[in-house]
């Protein structure tokens, strides 16, 4: 009986506290509240982390810090790469702070967990950095959730297809053993096979791993022409570095780093990373608009932005524009508005948010420069070609987000 009463009281309190104002339009509790949940201290914090916070703050400043007189508030927290911590923080922000938008950062495990919480709580959710294409397929939430910077499909379609077409047709995968790695491996295997290549084997490495020599030796022994690295961050750095140490590239095998960030190349150095083919959603030197924004970012953060950090800026900016146009911060209304808007800014070329929540935009196939080609700091990539969004990403009808196909 006592329990029942407590539950009823709790229910009533939540009902009073929740932003029921949303239905009648307008901005709830006189503020647009953005919460960022990302890896602030772990293996992904260099490519995401504080740099992403700086980027989102730039978007807020660009909007003048307010929308129609209603202040824009920013909160950040470290999800520590743990799905339970991420979802708890999201629930807390929803119940206690009435957060309007959650920007999720790298780590697909956390990213997928947040998708569930936000759709249940009717909070807009944009993810930059979690790579798994599951976010707009089996785990899609098309009314509230958007996947912005890139996904595993686009990475596989870019790098794997380009390499298979050059005749590198047998692959062995070293895969980070969690949601992200599995999806990237699956997408890359599909891309390799669809283009006439074969997959000779794979090995799942725990995340994170420091010593890859054992896995590299297995890959070397497989005789595959290409060793595909389905991992990210410090895992990628360690595997590329140790592959060089064990003479893998000298031995005639090629490395394909399916997800490589600017910060990884910086940490590895061009000596170790030169010649790697990669797919990226953004490169600071891609055009004038990107260069101009990246220079401002560098002034504030001390390094050029990674694609995740630029994507964070772009998604926050467009979200805020959509709130302004829709005249409300109610999640479904804003997400619907975003789907009508063309997405064009320092980050995105020819962007549009599709019915399943995927932000389709141009991707770039790039190659890491040699030390001789590079003109200095952060001059790391040669853009080989632009992959138009519709080719880079999976087609809507091929996906498994039934809710969006209607």
């Amino acid at each position: 009986m006592k329990l029942l009463r407590t539950m009823l009281l709790a229910g009533a309190a939540t009902a009073l506290a929740s932003p029921a104002l949303a239905q009648d339009g307008g901005i709830s509790d006189d503020a647009v509240k953005i919460g960022m949940l990302l890896d602030m201290s772990g293996p992904y914090s260099a490519l995401d982390g504080q740099g992403s916070v700086v980027a989102v703050q730039m978007a807020i400043d660009e909007m003048g810090g307010e929308i129609d007189g209603k202040k824009i508030e920013l909160m950040t927290a470290d999800h520590q790469n743990k799905a339970d911590i991420g979802s708890n923080l999201a629930r807390q922000w929803s119940d206690q702070n009435n957060v309007d938008l959650i920007l999720g950062g790298a780590n697909s495990g956390v990213g997928i967990a947040l998708q569930e919480v936000t759709s249940e709580k009717n909070i807009a959710y944009i993810n930059n950095g979690a790579a798994s294409a599951a976010l707009t397929n089996e785990n899609c939430a098309p009314e509230t959730g958007i996947h912005w910077t890139y996904d595993t499909d686009a990475l596989a379609n870019g790098t794997a297809v380009a390499m298979v077409k050059e005749g590198n047709d047998s692959w062995y995968f070293i895969t980070a053993d969690y949601a992200f790695g599995h999806k990237l491996e699956e997408n890359a295997m599909d891309a390799v096979k669809a283009n006439g290549g074969t997959v000779v084997g794979n090995v799942r490495a725990p995340f994170p791993t420091q010593d890859f020599s054992s896995f590299l030796l297995q890959a070397q022994g497989s005789g595959a022409k290409v060793i595909g690295l389905a991992n990210a961050g410090t895992d990628t750095q360690n595997s590329v570095k140790q592959a060089q140490e064990f003479g893998i590239v000298q031995g005639g095998q090629k490395l394909a780093s399916l997800l490589l960030f600017l910060t990884d190349v910086e940490a590895l150095g061009l000596d170790a990373s030169q010649g790697l083919t990669l797919t990226t959603g953004f490169y600071w030197d891609q055009d004038d608009m990107a260069r101009e924004w990246s220079a401002k970012f560098e002034e504030k953060h001390g390094s050029k932005p990674t694609m995740v950090q630029a994507g964070m800026y772009s998604s926050a900016l467009n979200y805020l524009k959509a709130v302004k146009e829709a005249g409300t911060d109610e999640a479904k209304a804003v997400v619907a508005k975003l789907k009508e808007m063309p997405i064009e800014d320092a980050f995105s070329r020819n962007g549009k948010v599709r019915a399943d929540g995927l932000m389709v935009h141009d991707m770039f196939l790039a190659q890491v420069k040699t030390p001789d080609e590079s003109k200095g700091n952060w001059d790391f990539y040669n853009i080989i070609r632009t992959i138009p969004g519709d080719d880079a990403f999976r087609k809507l009808e091929d996906g498994s987000c039934e809710a969006a196909k209607g």
Binding site: P43, R204, S214, T234, Q237, K241, F246, T263, L268, G269
Partner: protein, 294 residues
């Protein structure tokens, strides 16, 4: 059995790689065991000091242009002195209190050190090149062995054996062992036990820094490198028998091999296999493989 699916050369390769990783485990667990043996402190800062060792080597090169070989000696000395300061200023006042206080203090220290390096250097890591004299490698027929990795095994073995000899065969070592058994009695013989304790802590910490310098060219020099390895090293010390020098060395190499082989047979389990072994050892021999029952 999966074992028979694997050709002998690949198996040999994995065995060797396991030994290389075991070398790091051995040097780190040796330092931990020494410190636990004499100070009765579970030194949670050990991983952080290993990381600091790698960073000191990096900074010596970056700022003063001092290369790998001098760093291999200098970095352990610098970090060892730092350890002596820690012992004198922070650990000494806790000596008469429960173990838990030392554990909490060193754990806090580890967080502070990691936080500080993360603040200044970020997590993406710094580069440290393999010295020119150790570039390249040998083709062993069954695998390509990088010269540097061979050096890691050799250097670790030398350090482990030298430490073991120091403790088992010298007068200083005999005094140390006596102090572990009964500090008060040794003090009554006129031995300066507090000094002995300080030196031991400094030496244990220097061993961690030495492992850090060895690791710098292989892994990126990274503020998180210590926290990744320390839990495993603790498990190894427990498996070897708390405070047992021989146990720490032998189980370091053994478990490196054990982990390496798991990476072939069941890669997903490779980061927990050591803890499974620990659980089994604790059930069968609670004092550890080489520990004396209390």
């Amino acid at each position: 059995m999966a074992f028979f699916d694997i050709p002998l050369p690949v198996f040999m390769g994995q065995l060797l790689i396991g030994l290389i990783n075991g070398a790091f485990y051995a040097v780190l667990s040796l330092g931990l065991a020494l410190i636990f043996g004499l100070l009765n402190i579970v030194n949670f800062a050990h991983g952080a000091l290993y990381m600091v060792g790698a960073f000191v080597a990096f900074l010596l090169l970056d700022i003063l242009g001092i290369g790998y070989w001098p760093s291999l000696v200098l970095a352990p000395i610098i970090v060892g002195l730092f350890g002596i300061v820690i012992e004198r200023l922070l650990l000494r006042p806790l000596a008469d209190l429960d173990h838990l206080y030392g554990l909490l203090l060193t754990f806090g220290l580890a967080l502070l050190l990691e936080g500080a390096f993360r603040h200044f250097y970020g997590v993406s890591g710094e580069r440290y090149a393999i010295p020119d004299s150790l570039q390249g490698g040998f083709n062993l027929g069954f695998m390509f062995l990088p010269t540097y990795r061979a050096w890691v095994i050799a250097a670790s073995l030398i350090v482990c054996i030298a430490t073991w000899l120091l403790i088992e065969k010298t007068r200083l070592g005999a005094t140390m062992r006596a102090a572990v058994e009964n500090a008060d009695l040794v003090r009554a013989f006129g031995v300066n036990v507090p000094l002995l304790v300080t030196i031991t802590y400094g030496f244990g910490v220097a061993l961690a820094a030495f492992a850090g310098v060895l690791a710098a060219p292989i892994y990126s020099v990274n503020p998180l490198m210590g926290s990744n390895i320390i839990i495993v090293v603790f498990a190894i010390v427990v498996i070897g028998g708390l405070g047992s020098i021989k146990g720490a060395i032998v189980s370091g190499f053994l478990l490196g091999v054990c982990e390496g082989l798991t990476r072939v047979f069941w890669p997903e389990a490779s980061n927990i296999v050591i803890f499974v072994v620990m659980a089994i050892v604790l059930i069968v021999r609670p004092a550890g493989l080489f520990g004396k029952a209390a």
